[in-house]
Subunit: 441 residues, 2 copies
Amino acid sequence: MLHLNAFLMTVGHHESAWRFPESGLTAAWDVAHYRHLARVAERGRFDSVFFADGPSLQGDVRHRPVGRLEPTTLLAALAGATEHIGLIATASTTYEEPYNLARRFATIDHISGGRAGWNIVTTAGREAAQNFGLDDVPAHRHRYERAAEFVEVCLRLWDSWEDDFLLGDKESGRYADGDRIHTIDHIGRFFRVRGPLNVPRTPQGHPLLVQAGSSSDGREFAARYAEAVFTAQQTLAEGQAFYADLKARVAAAGRDPDLVKILPGIVPVLGRTEAEAAERAHELERLQVAEYGLRQLASLTGIEVTEADLDKPLPDGGVDVTEVQGAQSRFALVTDLARREGLTVRQLLGRLGGGRGHRTVTGTPAGIADTMEEWYTSGAADGFNVMPPLLPSGLEEFVDHVVPILQRRGLFRTAYTGSTLRDHYGLPRPANRFAPTPAAP
Amino acid sequence: MLHLNAFLMTVGHHESAWRFPESGLTAAWDVAHYRHLARVAERGRFDSVFFADGPSLQGDVRHRPVGRLEPTTLLAALAGATEHIGLIATASTTYEEPYNLARRFATIDHISGGRAGWNIVTTAGREAAQNFGLDDVPAHRHRYERAAEFVEVCLRLWDSWEDDFLLGDKESGRYADGDRIHTIDHIGRFFRVRGPLNVPRTPQGHPLLVQAGSSSDGREFAARYAEAVFTAQQTLAEGQAFYADLKARVAAAGRDPDLVKILPGIVPVLGRTEAEAAERAHELERLQVAEYGLRQLASLTGIEVTEADLDKPLPDGGVDVTEVQGAQSRFALVTDLARREGLTVRQLLGRLGGGRGHRTVTGTPAGIADTMEEWYTSGAADGFNVMPPLLPSGLEEFVDHVVPILQRRGLFRTAYTGSTLRDHYGLPRPANRFAPTPAAP
Ligand SMILES: Cc1cc2nc3c(=O)[nH]c(=O)nc-3n(C[C@H](O)[C@H](O)[C@H](O)COP(=O)(O)O)c2cc1C
Ligand SMILES: Cc1cc2nc3c(=O)[nH]c(=O)nc-3n(C[C@H](O)[C@H](O)[C@H](O)COP(=O)(O)O)c2cc1C
């Protein structure tokens, strides 16, 4: 069975989405909008919904509703509006403190009955750095080193209460077994954290760990910690190569590759006919604002070009990818795409307008299901990160027209069988590192 | 009209609460428990519910369910379960970053339709410091200096979007007026923050600012920033002195004293008769565990005594209050109480078991209403921070039996008349510091 995650971004992933009649001008920070989306995704039996995030105003607000809600608080609000679906929020290891973040995710896991997931990112943008006392983003390597220590601290904090700490003896006044609640006494390069956490161990043991950076450092990090991986892949061949590489790294790290689910992004531009789908794709592209796209390109890749360059090829910045201190994998993807297809800047902006580098598939429900099946059965994906260009309609159409086809083909669940997010992804509840291992019989 | 805030703490404020039959052993981190409490408080037309917090495991978990949920995420969950009542969470200026916290409270204000409040604290405990790379709590003065700068940064971030930023011109592609969204370019002693926030201005403009430290530094801070003040006061005379002092400081800071609401804590131990109430108070005290109380005393005041000292008077640590680096006002309150009433350590622990220094009032509903009316009409309170010893029953009884008496006496609302938390407290929506002042007519 494949896995589906609904990547919910404001009024849709396409930068023109807000200009469509259906789109609410303030929906991007209206909890009712997200409540509706989460319920639609749950009706479609999605594994999870997901919110991206960064601690800065990203993108050009003059041309797009980029204001938004903070996702950990939003997840908590959605927990009460849904029953089954997993709830994944992005949070940054570069600009948070492990004790604070571990508590919030533990709380969401309790509140949702075991449906929380954390998309662990290191945050590539300079704007974010400048909201935290820095002039520029810390070096790529440094961010991933901090991320690894950050996650280690969180894992220990989430285990700091053993599952069976409770005595609950009202008669004698002994509430808990103090020997089953542990300080963690972490002393590392980036953090010193004593513990224990002040939240008991959660239904899932700890939230599902998701990772979404595809650089070499990012893959190594994913191999060690991730249980699900989001990634942007433009072609089937690239998708297969990434899939094989990451699963091999997982095995090399001593983990079971089946227990790390790889979900490439897909931007489905749907129509009842091919022609209708193409017409919609065209309309989305027609409504793009070049000024916005250029700024977005600069923020994705660091490549600065002006409106005068729109009909020229993308300049080769002469930069080696490993020197990119922002988002390395996105830089490589965009420059490869432009070179491979010989795109002008204007054409490139058209290709990036929907998914910022994620694959756009334009077609009928059956055609889109075909592409998904092909990627799934040919070793490029364990599932998909579905990124509707317009919200809510793009998600509603996907749930009503694509999901039933996947279900008829036996590729996707028709009902939830478990109750936690890890259940949906077919992953076991992790053991507690502080608990005594059960004695051999 | 007086104001009522329901201070919701795990299964009740009294340290013996968990040993009562009604008390659920894991209710302290069960969202359903808090959902019920918030709805009961809303049925009683309370202004707000409130959660205390600190980023560490506080108190002795062996003798009390001190594990809990993180309150900003909890508030977001409660927003969807309630319609009118204000939602106040504590967060620490010592262990958070302003950009992160400003976003979360802005998000909760959006999600709740303008019902968010922030209890600003500087966090006195050493345990918390050790979860954030420190050996001990930063100096008292230093914490309050950081708190002031922290709040200034948040206020600017919350104003960084003017209310009328929206153009929403789908035709031309102009979404927002960039001139109405501002960087804040803050450069201070503790923080450098560029802004703007990535969340638009909220229904309340910004969350209600609440303050709860009563030391001299704490009062100065409250005079500058607070819109509501929680405080622990043992006697009417102390309550009046605090009230007069704080209102005078507010005036001296150039603000209108009526726009800062002072709410002393009250722990109501209710009975249908005086005898029944006294019996319940006795039962609560009987179930206290001395070992727990001694540890709690040490953490409240820094005074370390052993079980051997239980029947002796509280030792005079010889410490001057201004040298206390933890919670200065609570140190003063506890040592004054013990001295004034000549209490042994055991008696003192009995007095602190319910409210950790907050006033306990034992009696019938009418008797408790009398006390509240007296404090309210004689210049000691604008309202009360109601701290039920047992939850949920202590809150249910208060709502069913005390609130109707206050309503009959014309002291308390019978229906909500506004929609935001500031509406309930009779406070205006703040102006935006970046918005042009309206031209004279
Ligand atoms: C589906 C997907 C979602 C992502 N979401 C975020 C996000 O919300 N915030 C963020 O900082 N980075 C996010 N990233 C990662 C960045 O795109 C970028 O890859 C990362 O910051 C640096 O990774 P890298 O240098 O390892 O490629 C996401 C990536 C993918 C594939
Ligand atoms: C009702 C009430 C609630 C409080 N809640 C908290 C809290 O949740 N977290 C916290 O660190 N301090 C809280 N405080 C403040 C501390 O008790 C203590 O006063 C503060 O940390 C230091 O203040 P001071 O030294 O100015 O008195 C609260 C105080 C009152 C009166």
